[in-house]
């Protein structure tokens, strides 16, 4: 089963780095302050960056007839959704993890914080990808979604944000659990949405 990953993939990466660059300017050169809020700032940036590709995940394939052709060939809607989820994560997850290295330097994060952040991103970005895919499938039949995608996705992503940015003991485990829940559920939500939107 092939997953589609089209161009424009640099946008989340560039956005993420942009936020990481702007944050020190906005907050001031207080190194200790930056180190304290840096993790949270990068998580917020990751969340917003994950929003950007969502519109292009499902609707173009419906419009071009690709979804119909896959359905005719007996491909399950959930299977298509799962493949798209994987492709979507691959298009921004690893990139953000790599970009976190220079970003951490800009925000004066120390080694342990950086490691924790990277593990958190590894666990949490699949959950963000899952949310993005589900929202894309749900809004695919709408004419112009505008801010709707953000409005639906961001509240659901808040648990990932809280657990990811938290430095508490069990936070990473809660992050993994939430992410896993989203990843497990998204193909079914997206599959049902694709079926419901099919006319």
């Amino acid at each position: 089963m092939r997953a589609f990953a089209h161009g424009g993939a640099w946008l989340p990466l560039v956005f993420y780095l942009l936020v990481a660059t702007l944050f020190p300017f906005a907050v001031g050169p207080d190194a200790a302050l930056l180190a304290k809020v840096g993790s949270g700032a990068l998580w917020t940036a990751a969340l917003l960056a994950a929003l950007l590709p969502v519109e292009r995940l499902v609707r173009p394939d419906i419009a071009s007839g690709v979804m119909d052709q896959l359905a005719i060939r007996g491909q399950s809607d959930e299977g298509i959704a799962a493949a798209k989820l994987l492709a979507h994560w691959l298009s921004f997850g690893p990139l953000l993890m790599v970009a976190t290295l220079p970003a951490a330097a800009l925000l004066n994060l120390d080694g342990p914080t950086l490691t924790r952040l990277e593990i958190g991103l590894l666990l949490g970005t699949p959950g963000l990808a899952a949310l993005g895919l589900a929202v894309a499938a749900l809004t695919a039949s709408l004419r112009s979604t505008g801010a709707l995608i953000g409005l639906v996705m961001l509240p659901l992503a808040v648990p990932l944000l809280i657990f990811g940015a938290s430095s508490g003991a069990g936070a990473l485990r809660l992050l993994a659990a939430t992410s896993l829940l989203f990843v497990a559920g998204a193909p079914f939500v997206a599959g049902a949405a694709l079926r419901a939107g099919r006319t």
Partner: protein
């Protein structure tokens, strides 16, 4: 044995009942042309036959794989025509040779290496038909296959359809224009 049968089909679209009690049966080698005014439900009928749209009543019996040619080509714009067709052919269990033969049958062989986004409207239409030919499916569902085609291409379309029927396939086509082929007509 390829077969397509629609029994007691009713179609509900946009809050309106388009048609009901529709019966249709195609055995190997049979083709049928669906005619009717715009908006009467020809495309919906084809989508029901393809299994993309659930009928409000009745059932569809399909024996054999289905290929649908509709408005959109579903071909990747950035790839060459050959590569885009090969993607679907591979999903259908075919190979590069099936794609080459399909392109030759529809007269697009010389455009095989052209990116899909550079094709003209008529060429895209023919590329969609090439996709149907390359699929090797027994049941062809064609929605306005002749639209945008010039005289030479219409001949190639008729030849391809005749060949498919002769090989025991089944065709259900919706068209305003005559397709140059002797087919039973079904007025909606």
């Amino acid at each position: 044995m390829t077969r397509l049968a629609l029994e007691g089909i009713a179609c509900f679209r946009g809050g309106r009942l388009l048609f009901e009690g529709l019966n249709l049966s195609l055995k190997p080698g049979e083709g049928m042309l669906v005619t009717g005014a715009n908006g009467v439900g020809k495309s919906s009928l084809l989508r029901i036959a393809a299994g993309l749209l659930a009928p409000a009543a009745g059932r569809v019996v399909r024996d054999g794989a289905v290929a649908l040619s509709a408005e959109t080509s579903a071909l990747d714009e950035d790839q060459t025509l050959f590569a885009a067709l090969a993607f679907w052919a591979r999903l259908d269990g075919g190979d590069d040779e099936a794609v080459a033969m399909a392109l030759a049958a529809i007269g697009l062989a010389q455009l095989a290496q052209v990116p899909v986004r550079l094709l003209s409207t008529g060429q895209r239409r023919r590329a969609t038909l090439a996709r149907v030919i390359a699929s090797g499916a027994g049941i062809w569902l064609l929605d306005e296959p002749a639209s945008g085609l010039d005289a030479a291409s219409l001949n190639e379309l008729a030849a391809a359809m005749a060949g498919h029927l002769a090989a025991g396939g089944v065709i259900l086509a919706a068209s305003h224009q005559p397709l140059g082929l002797e087919m039973r007509e079904f007025g909606l």
